[in-house]
Symmetry: C2
Subunit: 209 residues, 2 copies
């Protein structure tokens, strides 16, 4: 399949299509029209058609979408047909919570290790994932194919650690530290700034009054 340049907004919507199609598949729905899908997802049918046309369409006029096929194709576009090995840097509450969430593995995101500078944590395990010392990080990255690094460390350490990771060849970071990492352009950083998400709620509560 040929891919033209896809806008970030479309990419952001793809996982939601994938989620709805997965649910439809669980309900044994084999085929769905863009109208039905649009009602279910609360978006317009024309939005769905436009989004999917970016990747060549997938539907036949008047015949609807084949749920399993469309789900699998969107999965391939999102890279979900591949295994992505990850490590977590930061074995605190959030790092452990993410490591404990086995669902990521069902989608091909496999956590290979947790790293922390606190010697009291080193040697412990979350599920069967070992917490290791930061001293062995560089070697671990050399010896294992790690696609994504999850950063769950405080913001005052995150920028420096991210630069070290870039130096070790890491090009994709899932960043939970409340700071911008400012890495070179060939690195992909996806930020999850939890406080900023919460502030959207307090803004809306506040502006309502």
């Amino acid at each position: 399949m040929q891919q033209k340049q896809i806008s970030a907004a479309v990419i952001k919507r793809l996982p939601r299509y994938y989620r709805y199609l997965s649910e439809l598949q669980e309900e044994n729905v084999e085929r769905i029209s863009s109208d039905e899908l649009s009602k279910r997802m609360g978006v317009t049918a024309s939005q769905i058609r436009q989004d999917l046309n970016n990747f060549g369409g997938f539907g036949q006029q008047g015949y609807g979408y084949n749920v399993e096929y469309l789900k699998n194709e969107i999965g391939k576009i999102l890279g979900l047909d591949k295994i992505h090995n990850m490590i977590i840097i930061g074995g605190g509450n959030l790092g452990k919570a993410l490591a404990g969430y086995a669902n990521f593995e069902n989608q091909g995101f496999v956590i290979k290790g947790i790293f922390d500078c606190n010697p009291e944590l080193v040697g412990r395990k979350v599920r069967d994932i070992k917490i290791m010392s930061m001293g062995v990080l560089e070697n671990f990255l050399k010896e294992n194919q790690i696609a994504i690094v999850v950063l769950t460390i405080p913001k005052d350490q995150a920028v420096q650690v991210a630069q070290e990771l870039y130096g070790y060849g890491v090009r994709a970071i899932w960043n939970f530290a409340h700071v911008d990492l400012n890495l070179p352009e060939d690195a992909f950083v996806e930020n999850v700034h939890l406080s900023e998400s919460l502030m959207q709620l307090s803004y809306r509560l506040n502006s309502r009054q």
Copy 2:
């Protein structure tokens, strides 16, 4: 201060201004020009001026912004000058991780309780926050002013629990369940779909190859 209708995109950017201004304040910077702020934040100075003009400006031509004043004003717009009581529904790994994160409290988001249907968890504590049974939730909501409910339960329970919460008068939900809640329009739902965030990274890794 009068507020006109502000676009969602501007609101999404406000917490980032707040974060940068907080950092400047920690560095004892008293005044900053929109040019300097723009370099630091990696956005254009005209974007900054446009965004802040939505709220009346805050700057004097050629004189720059007063860091503390601007931070406080943005904080007020975001509702950070108020206390927002929260509860967490779902005492699993993620719920406990969020409860353990004391930084929310520094921003006025105070976690008053955790609720779970698992009797083995009920009675335990995270920091000094009690895990309570779902059976006492309705009463707890009646007796405490809870502004925001955090949902960290599996997706197959989240929709029903959200509807119950709406029935109890809850109007702001921070939703970590991997499902759309479809509440009436006067409810504010802020979704944190972690898997979908991760898929943005795998898309970018995948489309690079």
